[in-house]
């Protein structure tokens, strides 16, 4: 099913995310140089790179949290600064700033994701409640919808934040290291829920991660960043170069460290 999505991928003109010639520097230290990145509908792109390669900075530029020194970012066909419907982008942060003791249920947290799509001042309708339930079910947390988030394991909590991003039914989903340190069951659920989003809604996914073994079989394209893009192609081409994404876990991280 995933290969169909790949073959049906339209050209760059319909790209969900299109970054061109991004340059960014902290003072005199150049972090990103002439970076191009495209994510199309129904495409699963993994962004990898050694520590300090500029992945997080690039993500912040793509989400308009940082302004690049040069280059442009267009999301859903518009410059990111002009994009008003931010709810069309789902975002799963690396470390949510949510306090661990916040008295909130899984459902309450996921419902905030719907605000971005629905409009924060409008009451939630039955269709919104259905979307929230659907998002919770898609990450396998239906039985825990009423549970306080503080009582969940780290992996389950990360699934709540993924469901919060799903609740807005995003056309583009951006995830920053979402599977770092989570259990195998949560990783499997995570993979299935991304496949569901891509296949059912033809959303585009941009995943930043060190660890791709859980999703290796569903990735369409790998982009390797080391200040500039040093590789951009299907995983099969990386495999051909002797780099394994998943079966022999550890191959990719070792190779990335060799790039430093």
């Amino acid at each position: 099913m995933r290969s169909e999505a790949r073959s049906a991928a339209p050209d760059v003109a319909d790209a969900l995310l299109e970054a061109r010639g991004i340059r960014f520097a902290y003072g005199s230290a150049t972090v990103l140089e002439d970076v191009d990145l495209t994510v199309r509908p129904g495409e699963f792109v993994a962004l990898v790179g050694p520590n300090g390669s500029g992945k997080t900075t690039l993500l912040r530029v793509l989400l308009a949290a940082l302004r690049p020194a040069a280059g442009s970012v267009r999301i859903l066909g518009r410059p990111i600064e002009a994009l008003e419907e931010r709810g069309r982008i789902g975002y799963v942060p690396q470390r949510p700033s949510l306090a661990p003791d916040v008295p909130a249920t899984v459902r309450e947290i996921v419902a905030s994701g719907r605000l971005a799509r629905r409009g924060w001042f409008r009451p939630l309708r039955a269709s919104d409640q259905t979307a929230i339930d659907h998002a919770i079910a898609s990450v396998g947390l239906d039985g825990l919808a009423g549970a306080p988030i503080g009582r969940l394991s780290g992996g389950q909590q990360q699934r709540v934040f993924i469901a919060r991003a799903f609740a807005s039914e995003p056309e583009l989903l951006v995830l920053d290291e979402p599977i770092a340190g989570i259990d195998a069951e949560s990783q499997r659920r995570f993979r299935d829920s991304l496949v569901h989003l891509i296949d059912e809604h033809r959303a585009g996914v941009l995943l930043v991660s060190h660890e791709l073994s859980a999703v290796a079989d569903v990735i369409d394209r790998v982009v390797v960043l080391k200040r500039r893009v040093v590789f951009d192609g299907p995983p099969a081409r990386l495999v051909a170069e002797g780099v394994n994404l998943g079966v022999h876990a550890g191959d990719l991280p070792l190779w990335l460290e060799g790039l430093r």
């Binding site: 942060p93 419902a111 905030s112 994701g113 934040f161």
Partner: protein
């Protein structure tokens, strides 16, 4: 004068009934605002803004302007100032509060004393005079209660998202600065409108203590709001009744009841049979 209701002792008299109504309104909107402030790690902003408002009272007395208006101006500017410092990461939340807190109370004392000493009217703003609430003050505080409850009802979802995960809310395109600004202004207006009636101490305490109790009991944010309001209103009713029966200071008694409620709930939560045996066997 609004007619007295046929309530039993200790609320059979008009002044007790006006104190009761004013107290219940503050016991409702204090915890409503406070539940969001506590999640934001800004539990002490009510107190901080109260002290800035105190500077406004001093400025009003000094300049011969009705002190409530100057207090309101100072409090709104102070609350937005604390929020600005916090959001720009110019100072941590508690440091931003401390800056305004100490400067505010010092300015209030200096301005008020320049006009003939820190009199009972100034102390009244700090500790309140619930038993002297008149009809005009009652109308003011009821109107405020309606405004706060309406704004909270309309904005509760976006306020929840912003106070629990500000970074995510910003990326999601939610109006983070506006939501924080509205919360800061509501806090300032609530403190100022309530301070002459029940005192800065009481309104600031009712923004935090019932929320602390509610967090021990609640599983969700919605139930935290409901429990916090229940504890706030309960503390007002019990505190006022106790103050009448035993002749205690009403504002202080209400705060003590709210504080004691927290410790009672915390103790009850730990009072499972195993816990009690363990504590006993340690001795």
């Amino acid at each position: 004068m609004i007619a007295a209701l046929p309530l039993p002792y200790p609320f059979e008299l008009g002044f007790m009934q006006r104190a009761l109504v004013a107290g219940i309104v503050v016991g409702t909107f204090g915890p409503l605002i406070g539940t969001f402030l506590v999640q934001k790690r800004m539990s002490l902003i009510g107190d901080g803004v109260g002290h800035v408002a105190f500077a406004g009272v001093g400025a009003g007395l000094f300049a011969g302007i009705y002190p409530l208006w100057t207090a309101l101006g100072f409090a709104v500017v102070g609350a937005l100032g604390v929020e600005w410092l916090r959001s720009r990461r110019r100072a941590s939340g508690d440091l931003a509060l401390a800056l305004f807190f100490y400067s505010g109370i010092a300015l209030g004392v200096v301005l008020a004393s320049a006009r003939g000493g820190v009199g009972t009217s100034v102390l009244g703003f700090l500790f309140g005079q619930p038993l002297t609430v008149d009809d005009a003050e009652l109308v003011l505080i009821l109107a405020l209660g309606v405004v706060v409850a309406t704004v909270m009802l309309l904005l509760r979802r976006v306020l929840f998202a912003v106070v629990t995960d500000e970074d995510w809310s910003r990326v999601a395109g939610l109006p983070v600065a506006a939501a924080n600004g509205v919360l800061a202004v509501l806090t300032a207006v609530a403190v100022v409108a309530a301070m002459q009636v029940v005192g800065i101490l009481l309104v600031a305490a009712l923004m935090v203590l019932p929320v602390a109790s509610a967090q021990l009991l609640a599983r969700s944010f919605g139930s935290t709001l409901r429990f916090a309001v229940a504890v706030g209103v309960g503390s007002v009713v019990i505190g006022l009744a106790a103050s009448r029966i035993w002749g205690l200071a009403p504002g202080g008694t209400i705060v003590l009841v709210a504080g004691a409620t927290f410790f009672l709930i915390a103790a009850a939560r730990h009072a499972v049979p195993g816990g009690i045996v363990t504590e006993g066997s340690d001795r």
